[in-house]
Amino acid sequence: MEPLTYTGALGDVLDPILGISVAALLVTSAVAIVASVFTAGERVVLNPDGTAAIQPGLSGMVGRAQTYALWAVLATVVAYIVAGMVVGYSGGGIFGGMAQAFTPVWLSLVALFVASFTYKRKLGLYGKLFDSTIGMIGFGLVMFWVFTAFYAGVLDMIYTHDPLGQVSGMKNEPPGTALNGAEDTDFPFYLLGGDNLARDVFSRMVYGSTIVMQIAPMATLFAFMVGITLGLPAGYYGGTLDTVLSFLANLILAFPVILLFYLLVTPEIVQTGLPNYMAAVLFLFPLVFLGVLINSRYRTQPPTRNLYLGVTMAVGLLFYFSLIMDQTSTLGLFRLWPGFLDLFDISGQVLIVFVSVVFVNSPTVFRIVRGLTLDIKTRDYVAAAQTRGETPWYIMLWEILPNARGPLIVDFCLRIGYTTILLGTLGFFGLGLPPESPDWGTTINDGRRLLSVYPHPAIVPALALLSLVLGLNLLADGLREESLRD
């Protein structure tokens, strides 16, 4: 079979349009920059009858042209996607094939945006996000990968080949190569080519999103639990506790991260069980957090308190011990938990990555929470809670924490981005995840060796990583901007 071109028959029509609209956008942008230096912006003129009119001026007109050009570019891109979904690889080439493969993601995105847009006034801060273009773009990028991870990881959709499977003759083949010896049931092409072990780059990229989406948000969440549980008392009590905790946080922050990771994955260190002990400590924080949260809220009603606390602790402890206990561990301590209650094991490698990511992120979260607490604890409603005899933990978790949520949500988005990059970095250094893992960092590292000859195995996951992190940053920007306005 003929190898696929990038845009296929569709490209004959759409490629020139895209070229023209992109050129128009570049030209108008350049003119706009020049014009803004030399001419005044738009001016409001008041008519004698009390109405106001806007005189656009030169830069106003250029700005309008720029907007039209941008819309043209966007419209062409949408045309690629929609047409590609219909005609697939046979008419749309590589992009058509990918557009068709991502069909469930496109449909979910459209449904989500239409629904959110319709009800945006009733959805609080989330709804306000749809007033900011930046925020919407960011949210769109992030949700693209969330849906991709969901459909690929849970429903086994989207990816075209086994991400770990090798097909002879496909080694380092360029994008669009037809599959060697394809059966009728097989997808007939490697859409984005093959890597140096003859695996499908497209499928690995899609499947890699599942791993990234599993580890990064969870690790960030755990880092937040640790940072919050320590940051609140440090800010609230101050004094020696604050001094000691802040000192420890600074100590961790000052330690070179990569060196720390190298130390943690060194076989000798792993043998001592240090990562497992760290996991045992770090994973305890969410439990403590939830326990204190419930206890402080319902302390005046012991029956309710006992019920909620009991259920949470039972479930929490089950998960906790399943997580840290390992029946195959060489250390006796970690085999204490009975096997039938050990619901799942996570591989040692993943555990180490998880622990190290939480460990290096929590000090920063700690500092943010501590600073916010210092500010909020001077408010009158905190004094009011004190004067009616509330416990310190109630004040910290129910009076202070909810009012610190704005900056924390923004930081959460940004931090998922950092964590994603960190995972990539770890994978790149060959630390952490197993070498055949399709996650983006490891894949980039694999592809790097033949980068000058076969760039596609490294570039594809790199672009994926870029778009996700960009999306998270834009989302955080949008949230911050919109939460400041009213």
Binding site: V44, L46, G50, A52, D131, G239, T243, T300, Q301, R379, D380, Y381, A383, A384, Q386, T387, R388, G389, E390, W398, E399, P402, N403, R405
Partner: protein, 703 residues
């Protein structure tokens, strides 16, 4: 460079100005059909409640309305030139040079990283191309003019090294550096203590005369406007409702809003039982929910349906230079006494419930917290306090910032424990029982109402939930249903609709939030309520309503109210006894009438003189205290007030510097001063009410 030098006629002419802000939902008109002229050398006051558009007018004059604001009608002419037609460069020349502005928060107007001198010198160097030497000389002269001690040292210091009052003087000096033709003062003293405020006000008045500057004085405080301005313009919900000469507007008001405003502020003569305040019913309309016709219509006593709600109402002449935006001002009998003033029953104080003896609270401040060492300093926040509070009595605690009143509240609440002395509540000593060690009943018996309505409620919890939480903590009720029922009753008690239970605090106005705060304090049937400036952050019309609510609940529940305030007008109105504090000491204590009439403690005397009173018939003695309140870290030796006292030379020897005076008893009235009884007896009253309308009405009422 000054743009225009020889202009005749008004400095500022604002003609039918309308300003709107554009949000993503709608256009919000902030100012509508607003006209005012400022003549050379004249001071014009702009009064109104928050949200009435007075600051927007000032920003409009500065042409600084931000991205969303826009002038949608009318014109602003400065020295005959229309400001909206000027280019950005011309505007830059005018701002800070010909029109200067002074804001509320002095620290926010000064660059914290620049020495005072540099900041002042920038003005002439930027606008007049002055040399560094000329600029320095001018700065030195202006700083001397604003009566700051040691001007050279001042120029060399950074803003944070100065006190709030000194900072505001520097801001004024900066505004005067370019000898502006117009000075806009936006609530210039709201962030300052009363005695400091009095100093600033008299300074502004003197400087206005000396430099011949016209002033636009924006304030919510009618008393302050009376003291500073020649003419006044009253604003309500984006419109000027009345303007005219000060005496005209204050004595012969011709708009129902102005009248209602004056009836809701505690003037001398008002009394909580004999002549209670009359709150303005209803709420300030939101800018996009203004009623048709007269904006004040729905809250007005003289409202006539079919007439007042039919389209816009123009300003009409109500005498020479006096205008009113009321259709009915000619029909209304302005001299008639307020209708339906029911007199609530008097409330005699009962048995003592709180007894404080020899209370001391010292704080240890170490120089270095981590490694110890350094010199330990002792801050004496409270120094031997003795007082008794009775059942259903209002005891006012008066003093300025740093006098120790908040520390006293903390010790009473159990957030701090006393260093020495006893506090007896009921029959138990609680001075060294921190709040964690107090029983539920003990905690619920003494509760607090806080000052800042925007801070008193947790912004992320519904109103009902916050009250229910207090009930939970105080062990009220057996289940959630009972507590919810009780919460609704508490909302009834503070006169809030029951639907408010499910609202978030941001959906409530300041006064409504304060009511929720009161409901929360009374959740556990408190016997003692410490109210820390509960109304000082509220608008005047709302103040009256909240004050009356507190009084009413007090009458019903026989609560003891410890009312902390710096506002002597409101204290005079509602308290039975007053305790004046200065730097941790009680300097004077007695029945309200005793404290307000001589003999005074010298500090009380200054405090009484400093409080602006919005009544033209009141004649005040003019006493301005020198300097600032000393730091509690480093209090003066001997009498705490000796550094600022104007009677000090009447005391023989250096008694004031060396010895803390003993309390002198005058019946129920106590004064802590070294002055001999004979000199104290010779003191004259600070506030005198001249025989005129108000006094006559008062006499009539009491007869």
């Amino acid at each position: 460079m000054k743009l225009t030098t020889d202009h005749q006629g008004p400095i500022l002419e604002i003609n039918q100005l309308s300003i709107s802000f554009f949000t993503r939902l709608r256009e919000i008109p902030a100012v509508m059909d607003f006209s005012v002229d400022v003549q050379p050398g004249e001071a014009v006051g702009l009064v109104g409640e928050s949200g009435c558009g007075k600051s927007t007018v000032a920003l409009g004059v500065m042409q600084d309305l931000g991205k969303n604001g826009r002038i949608v009608g009318g014109s602003i002419k400065f020295k005959g030139r229309d400001l909206s037609e000027l280019s950005a460069e011309d505007l830059r020349d005018i701002r800070g040079n010909e029109i200067a502005m002074i804001y509320q928060e002095p620290m926010a107007s000064l660059n914290p990283a620049m020495r005072i001198g540099k900041q002042l010198m920038e003005v002439p160097m930027l606008h007049d191309n002055a040399s560094e030497k000329e600029a320095y000389d001018l700065a030195l002269q202006v700083v001397t003019d604003v009566k700051l001690p040691d001007p050279q040292r001042m120029l060399d210091s950074y803003p944070h090294q100065l006190s709030g009052g000194q900072q505001q003087r520097i801001v004024i000096a900066m505004a005067l550096m370019s000898k502006p033709a117009l000075l806009i003062l936006d609530e210039p003293t709201t962030a300052l203590d009363v005695t400091v405020e009095a100093g600033i006000v008299s300074l502004v008045k003197d400087l206005g005369k000396k430099y011949g500057t016209s002033m636009l004085f924006i304030s919510h405080n009618l008393g302050l406007v009376l003291e500073t301005c020649d003419r006044v313009c009253v604003m309500y919900s984006g419109e000027a409702v009345e303007d005219g000469a000060i005496a005209e507007v204050f004595d012969n008001m011709r708009h129902p809003y102005t009248q209602a405003l004056f009836r809701s502020i505690p003037l001398p003569g008002a009394d909580k039982t004999a002549r209670p305040l009359i709150a303005i019913p209803g709420n300030f309309p939101l800018p996009h929910e203004r009623p048709p016709g007269c904006n004040f219509g729905p809250r007005c006593d003289y409202f006539e349906a079919g007439r007042c709600d039919q389209g816009a109402i123009p300003m009409a002449d109500a005498g020479p230079g006096h205008h009113s935006r009321c259709l009915r001002f000619e029909e209304i009998d302005w001299a008639a006494p307020p209708a339906n003033t029911e007199q609530p029953p008097a409330n005699p104080p009962g048995d003592p419930v709180l007894r404080v003896e020899g209370l001391k609270k010292y704080y240890q401040v170490a120089a270095n917290a981590l490694f110890g060492g350094g010199q330990e300093k002792v801050v004496k926040a409270n120094e031997t306090l003795d007082f008794v509070a009775h059942e259903s009595e209002t005891l006012a605690i008066v003093g300025e910032s740093g006098c120790g009143k908040s520390t006293l509240a903390k010790v009473l609440m159990g957030l701090e424990t006393a260093t020495d002395g006893t506090i007896t509540m009921g029959n138990r000593d609680i001075q060294s029982t921190p709040i964690e060690a107090r029983g539920t009943k003990q905690v619920s018996e003494i509760q607090m109402v806080f000052q800042n309505p925007f801070d008193t409620l947790n912004p992320s919890m519904t109103v009902g939930r916050q009250i229910i939480r207090a009930l939970e903590v105080f062990d009220y009720g057996a289940n959630d249903r009972e507590r919810r029922e009780r919460m609704l009753q508490l909302l009834d008690l503070v006169k809030l609709p029951r639907e408010f239970a499910d609202r978030m605090p941001r959906q409530l106005s300041g006064g409504q939030k304060q009511r929720v705060g009161i409901a929360r304090a009374f959740a556990g049937d408190a016997r003692i309520v410490v109210a820390d400036e509960p109304v000082s952050a509220l608008d005047v019309s709302v103040q009256a309503a909240v004050t009356d609510l507190l009084m009413e609940i007090q009458r019903e529940h026989k609560t003891t109210l410890l009312f902390i305030s710096h506002d002597l007008s409101i204290v005079r109105y509602l308290s039975d006894r007053i305790m004046v504090m200065y730097l941790g000491h009680v300097v004077e204590m007695g029945q309200t009438d005793d404290v307000f009439s001589p003999p005074y403690h010298p500090y009380t005397e200054a405090l009484l003189s400093a409080v602006p009173i919005a009544d033209t018939s009141v004649q005040k003695k003019h006493i301005v205290l020198e300097g600032d309140i000393p730091s509690a870290m480093d209090p003066p030796s001997g009498c705490p007030f000796q550094t600022r006292c104007r009677w000090k030379d009447q005391v023989p020897g250096d008694l004031c510097e060396t010895e803390v005076p003993q309390m002198k008893n005058f019946g129920t009235h106590q004064i802590k001063c070294h002055l001999s009884e004979e000199i104290l007896g010779r003191m004259e009253p600070v506030i005198e009410i001249h025989d005129s309308g108000a006094a006559a009405a008062l006499a009539e009422n009491t007869a």
